[in-house]
Amino acid sequence: MLTVYYFGEIADKTGLTSEKMDPQEQQISVILQALKEKYALQNGEFQVAVNHELIDLSQDLKVTETDEIALLSAFAGG
């Protein structure tokens, strides 16, 4: 089971701070597409980190079940 973590406004939209997933596909693009559809998230609204490293979304890497995915968004407040 891989774990997806949500922060800031993304966590408000998903209603969760994290969840376990057992995806059939290990391509990050497929996982992200499923999350976007599930939670009505927009492109450009978040960045993605795998194991605490920000990833380049144009390179479709594979994740394994011990990986941690994080969806990060910009905060405005100060």
Partner: protein, 345 residues
């Protein structure tokens, strides 16, 4: 100044010493925003003996600031924040220079302001200002220390440090919307935590000690006390140039009168809410409230002239800025707004 009793406790640190104190005295630091973050950061920078501190903010003190902006009291309400901050901080440490500028940061003044300092602190509370600071710092080759807050969560990072990654390497373009503290709500303690992390980075950068949060986003959750660091690299495809800066941050508003606009082949854009009076019926017109404009770009032509109006001209300027930032080439604010247009049509 020098190694007097005031600084003895920090000078006693082997990592600081009198050489470190001299670095602090020589440093020139600009704090952008004298709100929640600014009020948390500033007293510590001032007390540490940083020799030159600039503060820029165009806001006045409001009652709703007082729970987290502890430089201000009820007596200061409606006074310019920077004047009060300068006075109180001056009392905290009379040995240093504090320069206050009662202005908002704009595309016009940002570069000039940034160039007078070695290190910039982003204490603003709007996404657009954060991109403006980033782009100005990149052009002026200045590092800046970022902190931002969403409810109980804080992000802190140091951008453009020794040619390192910038804010745009982390978040390439502004999100559609990101709520400010006024909109999302915030505890004073959350802003203070963010400000302390920020001030701590400032000290390390000036003193040249420890690991600076360059290429690292520190994310702290005040509710769970969890703290994580995400790493990111410089994105070399992102280029900030004087031209891109001008395009994105300097919008000299083009204006046109109704008679001239009517004689040309364009569309009129009413950015008021649907129910607002007077109703203006113009040929080739479209009504999209300014709050929804960003979602309705597809309805608007990219090349054909667009003439924007509202009730007073304020929302039409906001609409103008949004369209100009999003590559609409031929946008004008009408000199006349709904009350005048009603007379003319």
């Amino acid at each position: 100044m020098g190694s007097n009793a005031r600084y003895s406790r920090q000078v006693n640190l082997p990592q600081v010493g009198s050489a470190g104190q001299q670095k602090l005295e020589a440093a020139r630091v600009l704090v952008m925003g004298a709100g929640g973050l600014g009020c948390a950061v500033l007293p510590y920078l001032v007390a540490s003996g940083i020799g030159h501190i600039g503060i820029i903010d165009g806001d006045v003190v409001s009652e709703s600031n007082l729970h987290r902006q502890l430089l201000y009291t009820a007596e200061d309400i409606d006074q310019p924040k920077v004047s009060i901050a300068q006075k109180k901080l001056g009392a905290l440490n009379p040995d240093i220079q504090i320069i206050a500028e009662n202005a908002y940061l704009t595309g016009e003044n940002a570069l000039k302001t940034v160039r007078n300092y070695d290190l910039i602190i982003d204490g603003t509370d709007a996404i657009a200002a954060r991109y403006l600071i980033n782009d100005a710092c990149v052009l002026a080759e200045k590092p800046f220390v970022h902190a931002s807050i969403y409810r109980f969560q804080t992000q802190v990072s140091v951008f453009n440090y020794q040619n390192g990654p910038t804010y745009r390497c982390l978040f390439p373009s502004p999100p559609k919307e990101a709520p400010s503290c006024a909109e999302a709500g915030v505890l004073g303690t959350s802003v203070a935590l963010a400000g302390m992390l920020q001030a701590n980075e400032v000290m390390k950068i000036i003193l040249g000690i420890g690991d600076v949060l360059s290429g690292q986003l520190l994310l702290k959750d005040g509710l769970t006390n969890k703290q994580e660091i995400f790493r990111f690299k410089k994105n070399k495809t992102i280029q900030i140039t004087p031209e891109s800066f001008k395009q994105e941050h300097q919008h000299e508003i083009k204006r046109i009168d109704f008679a001239s606009a009517k004689a040309q082949n364009g569309i009129f854009l009413d950015v008021r809410q649907k129910q607002e009076e007077p109703v203006i019926n113009l040929p080739n017109s479209i009504q999209i409230p300014v709050q929804q404009l960003r979602d309705e770009f597809a309805q608007l032509p990219r090349e054909t002239p667009i003439y924007i109006f509202c009730q007073s001209g304020k929302r039409s300027e906001a609409g103008y800025k949004l369209l100009a930032e999003n590559d609409f080439k031929n946008v004008f604010c009408l000199l006349e707004n709904a009350p005048e247009l009603e007379q003319l049509t």
